[in-house]
Structures are given as structure tokens and as C-alpha cells.
């Protein structure tokens, strides 16, 4: 069954869109990522103009993260206090990020800077996560000693300590504030939700339990994605509400299933799967940058 999309200005199969929504929503509920990294190229591949793809998927991510967040909330896997600190400082960071983006753009070379930084970031994070979680899986197999809940290092010596009861943490509020701020800057400059950066930071820098990280990350993503939807609709008119509706119908259902599977896995199993996903995305981006393209020309509507 085909439907005509009023903003994307093309007709596509409803079943295909629903399927894409379920798949990406599943990953979202399982890992606490938005899923934009997967949805953008998929939408562009089926012919949706890139600006419409990016804006519309922000709308779909909003829905999927609400669905996933509520499912994790029911299981008691959300640290709201931590979430609020991340959201508030994330918002401050994204203001700086937008300013930075404009500076970079006026200096030219913004695309190069973003692609390269992103590949570098994902590569390092993915590799470190894979090594760490691989080691803990091996250690568990051998039946070795139980790990400490989290390592203590200089981060835990900072002032303004705050108790995060849900995450069983007593750390300086400067740490989550700083992480939220950095993720805000990055998501505004790179145009990504920031889940890939936020989740490893929460696990390894803050030392939060993996199960708590997924739900709390989804809580933060709701705000980022809703804000991004509003800005795209308001200033570019590129949100296709009909496309979003079909995608999010699939995504909210997928997110519920993803949460069910995700909460059944052990922390390190979840971490190694996420690490593999991060490495796969990094490899894809690196391939796009390094391999000789099939067509060195690309066309797009010119917005002057």
C-alpha cells in the first residue's frame, strides 16, 4: 500500500516505513540510543530528501524515546535526578554548540570537521567499550572475583557532591553537568542526538549501572529530539508529519520489545552489543569517507 508524503513529495510503501520504524525503535528501547544514525541513511536511501529525513526522524525519535522511557520507568530503571542535571546542562551546551557551528560554517570546512571528529570519536569509544565488556564477560565465564561496582579516580574527588540514590552514586554534580554540557555542544554541532556519546560517558565516567543508563539516556533524548523537531519545523518546514506518524507507529511498538529484550541481558552483554553497533556505524562512516564513491557528483535542491 502506497501513501503520498506531503513534505517529502513522493509516495512510499506504508509497510516498508512501519518495518523501518519497528527496527530502529527496537534498538532505541534496547540500548537507549535515538537511532538517527540508522534512520537517516535508510530514509535517504528510499528517496526522502536529506533535510526532510533528518527533521522527520527527530520527530520519530521523540516518540520512540517516550515509549522506551516509560517502559524503563515502570521497571524502576530511570534516575530522574541525574536525567534533569543532564537535560539542563545539555540545553546550555547546545546553545554554545549552535554558536560554534555558525563560527565553523563561516570559516568553511564544517562538513569535513564534523565527519572526521565523529568517526574518530565513535572509533575510540567503540573499541574501548568492546575491550572492557569483552574482558568482563571472559572474567565472568572463568568464574573470577566479582568486579567492584565502579572504579574510583580523580573525578570522584571533585567538590559539590550530590547523592544520586537510584544510580547508587555520591559524586560531584560537576561531573554529570560537564557531561551534559559536552553532549549538548556535540549534538548541536554534529546534528546527532548524542546517545552514542552520552551512554559510554554515563557508564565509564559516572560509573552508573548499565540498566539505569539506558532509561536515563532515553529521558534525556526526549528533550533533545523534541527541541530539534520544533526547531526544524519552525525554521525549515522540513518535518513531514505523515511520514513521522507512520515511522513512529512502528517505533513506539519496537521500543517496547527492545526494552523487554534489553532488560533481560546482563550489563556487559548489553555493553558489548552496543560497542559492536558503534564500531559498525564508525566503519560505515569511515568507508563513506575513504572508499572511492560510485558517483562523485551529488544533487540537492538549492536553498539560497
Amino acid at each position: 500500500m502506497e501513501i503520498y508524503l506531503p513534505i517529502a513529495e513522493m509516495s512510499v510503501s506504508i509497510v516498508l516505513l512501519l518495518g523501518m520504524g519497528v527496527g530502529v525503535g527496537f534498538l532505541s528501547g534496547m540500548f537507549g540510543v535515538g537511532g538517527g544514525f540508522l534512520m537517516t541513511p535508510l530514509l535517504i536511501f528510499i528517496g526522502v530528501p536529506p533535510p526532510v529525513a533528518v527533521a522527520t526522524e527527530a520527530n520519530q525519535i521523540t516518540a520512540a524515546s517516550v515509549s522506551g522511557f516509560l517502559a524503563h520507568w515502570r521497571r524502576g530503571n530511570v534516575d530522574l535526578k541525574m536525567g534533569f542535571v543532564l537535560v539542563v546542562f545539555g540545553a546550555i551546551g547546545s546553545v554554545l554548540g549552535v554558536w560554534l557551528f555558525r563560527k565553523l560554517r563561516s570559516a568553511g570546512q564544517v562538513d569535513e570537521f564534523i565527519s572526521l571528529t565523529f568517526v574518530l570519536f565513535l572509533g575510540v569509544i567503540g573499541t574501548l567499550m568492546a575491550l572492557e565488556s569483552g574482558r568482563s564477560i571472559l572474567r565472568r565465564r572463568r568464574g573470577g572475583r566479582r568486579e567492584r561496582m565502579h572504579a574510583h579516580y580523580w573525578v570522584h574527588g571533585l567538590p559539590y557532591k550530590m547523592r544520586f540514590r537510584k544510580s547508587k552514586l555520591y559524586i560531584s554534580a560537576l561531573v554529570p553537568a560537564g557531561i551534559g554540557f559536552c553532549v549538548g555542544v556535540m549534538s548541536a554541532t554534529m546534528g546527532v542526538g548524542g546517545g552514542f556519546i552520552l551512554i559510554p560517558a554515563m557508564i565509564y565516567i559516572l560509573g552508573m549501572p548499565t540498566a539505569m543508563v539506558v532509561g536515563t539516556s532515553l529521558f534525556q533524548i526526549i528533550f533533545v529530539a523534541a527541541n530539534s523537531t520544533l526547531l526544524h519545523a519552525g525554521s525549515n518546514q522540513t518535518v513531514d508529519i505523515l511520514l513521522a506518524l507512520i515511522l513512529l507507529l512502528g517505533a513506539v511498538v519496537g521500543a517496547q520489545f527492545g526494552t523487554r529484550i534489553g532488560t533481560r541481558l546482563r550489563g556487559e552483554e548489553l555493553r558489548i552489543l552496543l560497542a559492536l553497533l558503534v564500531i559498525a556505524v564508525c566503519a560505515k562512516l569511515a568507508h563513506d569517507l575513504l572508499a572511492t564513491p560510485v558517483d562523485i557528483y551529488s544533487t540537492a535542491p538549492f536553498i539560497g
Partner: protein, 252 residues
């Protein structure tokens, strides 16, 4: 202004009038099967029939061009920089038609010579794309032009081969044009020429409008007329859908 200047202008004007009179000696009667195509929610494309009557007893060949609304398009070119493939240069084409199709009663190059085809903007290479600004570091302009044509053909909006013009009886002719589902809305202009011995002896024109109707039109209008309200609606819709899914799954 001197008298000699005035007479020069007058003779120039007379000359232009004479030229256009000879070029369009007769007007061709043509029409389209639709003057308006509505894009509704189950729109998957359309076909339009162009038909008309040939002038005079001499017969001849028919060439028709159907052009969609002009849209500015940017063509970017990647180049290898320090091992990475990155967009390095671009050309902006200010007036690329959103749709371009030709109909002909025979092979184009035997009906009209290259100069005539260029003058009447017939064929993919004679669209007359105008480029503005944009540095063209490395590579010629022609390559960007070709890339644009190639991509539009891939999207099903330009046609590399002309559609066949069929004759019915001695004077009637018709040709079919296909519109894919991604046709841009706007005004489409058809220009039809009757050719005899390599010369255009009569020309005619017709037009049609492609526009969104029903819910498609309402969504598009809301998105452009009140973008912030539309954005808030989109967010509320997402929040409600997420909550609803969670509520349904809680029960099962």
C-alpha cells in the same frame, strides 16, 4: 535621439516582427487530457495525453516538449583530500526544470538539425540551464550539467528517449507523457512544433497545473503558514503516541 537612430530602431523592430511571423507562421491547435492533476494521499503517478491537429495538407513531423516548474538545484562534486572523499566544489543551476520530457514522431536528429533543436530547447542537452556563483575548482562546467541530467533521469523526472508521437488519420496526433509519484507541484508548459523539411512551420502551446489536494494540501499549508504551531503539533503527537504504546503494552 536623432532621426537616424529612430529609423534604425524601427527597422530593427520590423525585422524582429518579420522573423517571428515566419517562425510561427501558423499556430498549431493542441490540448492536454488534463489541465489539473491533484496529488492526493494515494497518488502514485499519472499519465497525460497531449493531442492536436496538424496544419495544412503537407503533413510533416511533430516534436513536443513538456517542462515542469523551474527549481534551483545545487550539484556538488567530491574530491580526494588527504585520503578522504569530501565535497570540494559545487555549481548552482538557478533554473533547472522539475520535469522534462520530449515527444517526437521520429528520431530527433533527423527531424531537426542541432541548431534548430537548440533554438527551440528540444532535447536534454538543450534545456539551457543557467548557473550562478559557485566555484568550479577542477572539472568543467559540462560535467556538472551531465551529472544533473543523470540524477534527474534516475529520479524519473527527465527522459533520455522521446515518447512516440502517434498519428491518427491524416491530421490528428497524440503523445503520452508519464508523471512519476515524485513530480514537483507547479505549472507545466507544453510546447509543440510541426516540422517540415527541417523547419518549424507551426507551433502551439498548452499548460497544466500539478497541485496537492485534500489532506496533503492541508498538511503542506499548515507546515508553511504556521510552522511553529505545526512543530508543537508534531511534538505533541509524538509524546501521545509514545505514551499510548506504553499504556497498551502495560496491559498485555
Amino acid at each position: 535621439m536623432g532621426a537616424s537612430n529612430r529609423s534604425k530602431i524601427t527597422s530593427a523592430l520590423l525585422c524582429i516582427c518579420a522573423m517571428s511571423a515566419s517562425a510561427f507562421a501558423e499556430s498549431l491547435e493542441v490540448d492536454l487530457s488534463h489541465h489539473s492533476i491533484g496529488i492526493h494521499s494515494s497518488f502514485t503517478g499519472a499519465e497525460v495525453l497531449l493531442f492536436g491537429t496538424m496544419q495544412g495538407p503537407g503533413g510533416g513531423e511533430i516534436v513536443a516538449v513538456l517542462r515542469g516548474p523551474n527549481q534551483p538545484v545545487v550539484v556538488r562534486r567530491k574530491a580526494r583530500t588527504a585520503g578522504f572523499w569530501l565535497n570540494r566544489s559545487e555549481v548552482v543551476f538557478e533554473t533547472a526544470p522539475g520535469y522534462y520530457a520530449v515527444g517526437a514522431s521520429g528520431p530527433l536528429d533527423t527531424i531537426l538539425d542541432a541548431r534548430q533543436r537548440a533554438a527551440n530547447r528540444i532535447g536534454l542537452n538543450n534545456i539551457k540551464l543557467v548557473s550562478v556563483g559557485g566555484a568550479t575548482r577542477g572539472g568543467g562546467f559540462a560535467e556538472y550539467y551531465e551529472a544533473l541530467l543523470r540524477h534527474k533521469v534516475d529520479q524519473g523526472l527527465y527522459f533520455p528517449e522521446p515518447s512516440e508521437v502517434q498519428f491518427i488519420g491524416t491530421n490528428l496526433f497524440r503523445v503520452r507523457f508519464d508523471f512519476p509519484s515524485n513530480v514537483p507541484p507547479g505549472t507545466y508548459q507544453a510546447a509543440v512544433h510541426q516540422v517540415s523539411d527541417g523547419r518549424v512551420i507551426a507551433s502551439g502551446a498548452a499548460s497544466l497545473v500539478v497541485r496537492k489536494i485534500g489532506i496533503e494540501a492541508r498538511i503542506y499549508r499548515t507546515a508553511h503558514d504556521s510552522p511553529w504551531l505545526y512543530g508543537i503539533l508534531a511534538v505533541v503527537l509524538a509524546l501521545m503516541a509514545g505514551w499510548l504504546a506504553s499504556a497498551i503494552f502495560r496491559r498485555t
